[in-house]
């Protein structure tokens, strides 16, 4: 295998909590707590987890849309957290994002033309005719028509808007696109169309995706490898096949049991997780999942399990497996 396109090591993002008379920092939310993984060129890495588990923050931290607290993000072997603002700005040509909410992520006062051509302009395409051409091309690539260019976002449906968002992300031929739950706001029927489009585009333009989603069914469809996050930590990471066939972490198992099977005859034991997601301000000691884990042991309450490979390309953070090694 070649060198990874993106390498994330020990990424952390803590949000301070301030309160009291002086607004002192009285605690912090560890939204992303020591997450590491890498992405190969042309690969689609899925990241799943319940809402609030820090997967979106992870995605935005990688792009420095949120400044990480600590860690290392290497893109093509450059630690981008050390780049100056201007260097980072230039690098954004190669790293793009598609947002979850197609309604909120498009400037309501700009025409589609302007929305898509703006990234072209800021990365050096000064000729407006050229830009116009490119916008039409991109619109057609994502399945819209050239005449849509003069309209405003509010004149489009959700799926169409997400297509615009994709066109915008594609504008400068990026190498990596982080897709932050790109279909979760859409109708199910539209979801499939968008997912198909994204897969086509990957092949067409040789893209690499980090695909963030909160349900496994979507990720299953599109990913090569999948990472599972819980309370700011990565708990399992492996190839799609292994994850779906042989999930290791109890949390992954629980998630998988909730995925509806297309074939109603296949009987499946549904694992219902007890309790709520703990307060991220005050996460449980040891393994963060132990409060809800059906298989929790004493050690889980005290020691945080290491995120370690149990098999080839199969990383898990769970004492059940750490013991076996």
């Amino acid at each position: 295998m070649s060198t990874p396109l993106l390498e994330v090591n020990g990424l952390k993002k803590y949000f301070p909590i301030r309160s009291g008379v002086f607004g002192r920092k009285t605690g912090e939310v560890k939204a992303v707590d020591d997450v590491s993984f890498s992405v190969m060129p042309g690969e689609i890495l899925g990241i799943v987890g319940e809402s609030g588990c820090g997967k979106s923050t992870t995605g935005k931290s990688i792009l420095r849309l949120i400044e990480p607290t600590d860690g290392e993000v290497k893109f093509e072997n450059r630690n981008i957290l050390e780049l100056s603002n201007e260097e980072m700005r230039k690098l954004r040509k190669d790293m793009q994002i598609i947002f979850q909410d197609p309604y909120a992520s498009l400037n309501p006062r700009h025409t589609v033309e302007k929305i898509i051509s703006e990234p072209l302009l800021v990365h050096g395409m000064k000729n407006s005719k050229e830009r116009k051409e490119r916008v039409r091309e991109l619109l057609e690539v994502v399945g819209l028509s050239g005449y849509h260019a003069t309209r405003y976002p509010h004149q489009f449906s959700g799926g169409q808007r997400q297509r615009i968002g994709i066109a915008r992300a594609l504008a400068n031929n990026p190498k990596l696109i982080i897709c932050d739950e790109p279909v979760s706001a859409l109708d199910v029927s539209v979801q499939a169309q968008i997912l198909n489009l994204m897969e086509e585009l990957r092949e067409q333009f040789n893209l690499t995706y980090i695909f963030i989603a909160h349900d496994l069914s979507v990720v299953k469809h599109i990913s090569d490898r999948v990472g599972v996050m819980y309370l700011g930590r990565m708990v399992e990471l492996t190839t799609k096949e292994k994850l779906y066939e042989d999930p290791k972490h109890p949390y992954t198992k629980a998630l998988l049991s909730a995925v509806p099977e297309p074939d109603p005859d296949i009987k499946k034991e549904r694992i219902i997780l007890k309790g709520d997601v703990p307060n991220p301000q005050n996460p449980p000691t040891g393994c963060a999942f132990h409060t809800r884990c059906p298989l929790a042991m004493d050690i889980c309450k005290e020691i945080r399990p290491e995120f370690a490979p149990v098999e080839d390309h199969h990383f898990v953070a769970c004492h059940l497996y750490n013991d076996k090694q």
């Binding site: 690098l91 994002i97 309604y103 400037n107 990365h123 005449y147 959700g158 915008r168 706001a185």
Partner: protein
């Protein structure tokens, strides 16, 4: 009364997702949010009345010389305090000047004061508000505290103090009014910027690799324009009131400039002899302010229903 007639033009976020191919007919016109606002505004009867009032005063201001055979400073001491008549439509003041003529020329003064004071406050207020809102941290701390302190003084008092420092004149009154209005715009823009900064399309703009300046100019500002316009319209009225108050206290325009507040102050002495001299200037101030308030209300309903309370 259409004050409550909310329209959902700007609440696209709340619309249910459409089917993917709903609006694909080629004929569909490109509808900009501005045009929607204008459409909405045209339906608002009160706003139209407001426009009519302001338009009337603008026309009067422009064509003042055509309405009258007098000049605003032409004295005719023999006719002082002449009651309204054919000769003097609204009567004559204590120097025998035609009040109608002075009101007409006074419209120029008031509208100009309103315009320049609001423009000044808007430009500087927005600038500071953007700086504070976009960059946050100590810049925000500093600017916000300055706004707090300025707002701690009743605006007319602060304006009086500023005029006391600079000396009474129309220009200084205008400057004072602009200064006291800066924090109003500043705060508005700052809070707009802060809420916009969290919006995804701003993050998207950053993700595209845009520079801060471009993000502010092309994304944050255009989306803050609606509330700023509404505030500017309302402030227009307030500024005219404040200018008139300063004029009334003798701190505004200098004679023989026909400033309405000052005309009111002049006529105050003749409340026993010639009460009609007080009517026209007072009514004019009230009408112009009313006009701007009506337009402001209409704009708020049309452009930015969220600002309503």
């Amino acid at each position: 009364m259409k004050l409550e007639e909310t329209n959902n033009q700007f609440q696209e976020q709340n619309l249910p997702p459409h089917d993917d191919n709903v609006m694909d007919e080629e004929e569909t016109e490109a509808v900009s949010p501005w045009r929607d606002g204008w459409k909405q505004l045209r339906k608002n009867r009160l706003a139209i009345i407001g426009f009519a009032i302001i338009l009337f005063f603008i026309l009067v201001a422009i064509f003042a010389p055509l309405f009258t055979s007098y000049s605003y400073d032409q004295q005719n001491l023999a006719d002082r305090l002449h009651p309204p008549s054919k000769e003097y439509l609204l009567g004559a003041d204590h120097l025998g000047r035609d009040i109608f003529t002075r009101i007409a020329y006074g419209a120029r003064v008031s509208l100009q004061v309103g315009f320049f004071a609001v423009t000044g406050a808007l430009v500087f207020g927005s600038l500071l508000g953007i700086l504070a809102g976009y960059f946050g941290r100590w810049i925000d701390m500093l600017i916000s505290r300055i706004f707090d302190i300025m707002l701690a003084f009743p605006s007319i008092l602060l304006a009086i103090a500023i005029v006391a420092i600079l000396g009474p004149s129309l220009e200084n009154a205008l400057l004072a009014i602009a200064v006291v209005n800066i924090p109003i715009f500043g705060r508005l823009v700052r809070s707009r910027v802060i809420s916009l900064r969290e919006e995804e399309f701003i993050m998207a703009a950053k993700a595209q690799g845009m520079k801060s300046g471009r993000v502010i100019l092309h994304h944050i500002l255009p989306n803050s324009v609606a509330p700023i316009i509404v505030q500017a319209t309302l402030s227009f009225g307030t500024a005219i009131l404040e200018a008139a108050a300063l004029g009334f206290l003798g701190l505004g325009a200098q004679p023989p400039t026909p400033e309405w507040g000052q005309m009111l102050a002049d006529s105050r002495e003749f409340i026993q002899l010639a009460p009609w001299t007080m009517l026209a200037p007072g009514l004019s101030i009230m009408l112009v302010v009313l006009g701007f308030n009506l337009i402001g209300d209409g704009l708020r309903d049309a452009l930015d229903p969220r600002m309503k309370n």
